[in-house]
């Protein structure tokens, strides 16, 4: 029972790391990024390629995450510009279709050119024992990293001027623009930052099992569910939803199987939209 709970929390943290990016990009840019899981896979595959070329594991991971960030930056300045030209519903629609197309381009390219590349990272210590409970070292590393990233993100959003600007754009883009904030620049920064966080989540997948080129869709879907349940404009909500759904997923996978677990998660997302479109946990912010 207890190990499943820990697995759930750890998986939940990973999901939150992915989903926060979707929340941020949607809140700031009004684009629901359906290629978010592909950012994670890009980082992982880049890392795997670097490692196979003899680069040190830590340096390779760092460069892999950076690669995802650069990719996010390029996408924001090229592909998403076509969506940013419009406002409101039109932008949402275009953003949805364009990122869907992007996810197919990335998946198609990776599966065509690098079908057998996968990222597997081995830690020097396989597991730790805390108060008599054995925990995988990968879980500890992943959790610490996720918590650190979230702390930094919250400090950044609450404590710095740029963070304030970002929150003001999320609340009201026109109002923020009138106060002299440039939404376009901030948006680019946020897309790159979200891609970096997705990249971290992707690489940490390599710690647990292995990250293959085909996992982008799965990541996107899980992150999307978490973002929707947490409220696509609420960062705190997304964090909590990630952990809750991670736990639900772990127990459901263990007792009733992975197919039904995914169906339960998807059903939760659908119900959330129907009952409270702003997110079940949105009142937290």
């Amino acid at each position: 029972m207890f190990p499943i709970l820990i697995d759930g929390v750890v998986q939940g943290l990973q999901l939150s790391l992915l989903a926060v990016g979707i929340t941020l990009i949607y809140g700031l840019g009004g684009v629901l990024n359906l290629a978010h899981g592909q950012f994670a896979v890009m980082a992982g595959i880049a890392t795997a390629l670097l490692i196979s070329n003899g680069v040190n594991v830590i340096v390779a991971s760092f460069l892999g995450v950076l690669a995802a960030g650069v990719f996010g930056l390029v996408i924001d300045r090229s592909l998403l510009l076509a969506a940013y030209r419009y406002k409101g519903e039109e932008r949402l629609l275009l953003g949805l279709v364009l990122t869907l197309g992007l996810s197919f381009v990335v998946d198609g390219y990776l599966n065509y050119r690098l079908p057998n590349v996968a990222l597997t990272l081995r830690l020097p210590i396989p597991s730790l024992s805390v108060f008599g409970i054995t925990i995988r070292a990968a879980s500890v590393v992943m959790s610490l990293m996720a918590i650190l990233v979230f702390l930094l993100l919250l400090i950044f959003l609450k404590g710095t001027l740029l963070g304030k600007a970002i929150r003001s754009i999320i609340q009201n883009e026109v109002g923020a623009e009138l106060c002299g904030i440039r939404p376009a620049r901030t948006r680019t920064f946020i897309v790159a930052l979200s891609a970096v966080m997705a990249g971290l989540a992707g690489i940490s997948q390599g710690l647990f099992s292995s990250l293959g080129t085909e996992m982008g869709v799965e990541f996107t879907i899980l992150a999307l569910i978490v973002a929707v349940v947490g409220g696509v404009r609420s960062i705190n909500g997304t964090l909590v939803a990630g952990i809750l759904l991670g736990i639900v997923n772990a127990y459901a996978s263990y007792y009733i199987g992975a197919y039904l677990a995914l169906i339960i998660l998807l059903g939760t997302a659908m119900l959330t939209i129907l009952i409270r479109p702003s997110g079940l946990l949105a009142y937290w912010t």
């Binding site: 275009l94 198609g108 998807l266 059903g267």
Partner: protein
């Protein structure tokens, strides 16, 4: 609606029907071309259905494959396990697709969900469908699928008769589209696509028109999907996945021209040609389709029909 445009539509439909009816003669008896041209008709009919749902009322359904698949699987599974005639189960499947499409639309309009949430709900539905097919292995055979040959739909087992069956389905759905668009309903749809709020204020019942469009489109998806299942001889989840239906249909409709009568037909022909060109590259076709979707939506949203309209003197419906 001028009288001239009225007759232009009939002339165009007649021409399309004639040309498509003559295609089997032109390609000879080759089974290879027979399959390609039949698939072209199937995807064109899908696009006509999607044009109903999306072209005028802008309801982005990302569950087209799942709707077609629901109808197909319900019919095949019932036929196989209960030994019913497929001519009883096919209508059941079609009704299921229409009901689900109408339900999504009704809920989204009633709850005031925007394009994004309708997109996410329908995307979630198509994944649920896919996972259910894999999970209910004892009925659906999972990934392997079910052989549908010999289940009793003889007319869809010979390749030439099935070509004409799909042609009939396509022409009837084009006619239906034409009748809907040239009636009072068509006026309402045009008003809706311009500005929903204004349409509502002008006394148009937005909810019922949107639900009607979605339900009719989904019924058509169901018809084509279940016929496709019997034509293909094998039904598997891959036939109805997001990549093999939704993406292709989005490309078909947007390359041809949204909200036009001939758009889906032109788009269907274009996609059939592109599909032939990328076939040798195997996995690469996913990339090509993704890139096409991006280019079409970012830079070529008006579609072929409106380009042609600017080039020629006579009217293109």
């Amino acid at each position: 609606m001028s009288k001239r445009k009225f007759s232009a539509s009939y002339v165009a439909l007649l021409l399309v029907g004639l040309i498509l009816a003559l295609v089997p003669l032109a390609t000879g008896g080759s089974p290879y071309y027979s399959r390609i041209t039949t698939l072209m008709l199937i995807y064109t009919a899908y696009a006509v259905a999607f044009n109903m749902i999306f072209g005028h009322t802008k309801q982005l359904f990302l569950c087209l494959g799942a709707l077609a698949g629901c109808s197909a699987y319900l019919s095949v599974v019932l036929t196989r396990t209960l030994a019913l005639s497929p001519w009883i189960t096919i209508p059941l499947g079609i009704l299921l697709a229409g009901f689900l499409g109408g339900l999504f639309s009704y809920v989204s309009v009633r709850r005031g969900l925007g394009v994004i949430f309708l997109g996410v709900v329908t995307l979630a539905f198509s994944l649920i469908f896919y996972n259910l097919i894999l999970g209910l292995r004892e009925y659906t055979n999972g990934e392997t699928g079910i052989v549908t040959k010999g289940l009793g739909v003889g007319i869809l087992e010979s390749s030439w008769s099935s070509y004409y069956v799909f042609l009939a389905v396509l022409m009837l759905s084009l006619l239906l589209y034409h009748f809907v668009m040239s009636s009072r309903m068509g006026v309402a749809f045009r008003a809706l696509s311009d500005d929903e709020l204004t349409a509502e204020l002008a006394g148009i019942d937005v909810t019922s028109y949107k639900v009607f469009a979605a339900a009719i489109g989904s019924l058509l998806m169901g018809i084509v999907g279940s016929f496709y299942a019997y034509y293909n001889g094998l039904i598997s989840p891959a036939l109805f996945s997001l990549a093999s239906v939704d993406i292709v249909v989005l490309i078909t409709l947007s390359s041809g021209g949204m909200g036009t009568l001939l758009g889906p037909v032109l788009g269907g022909a274009v996609v059939a040609i592109i599909d032939e060109l990328v076939r040798p590259f195997g996995q690469l076709n996913v990339l090509v389709y993704g890139a096409l979707l991006i280019v079409l939506f970012a830079a070529f949203r008006q579609g072929l029909v409106s380009v042609l309209r600017k080039m020629v003197k006579f009217q293109i419906p």
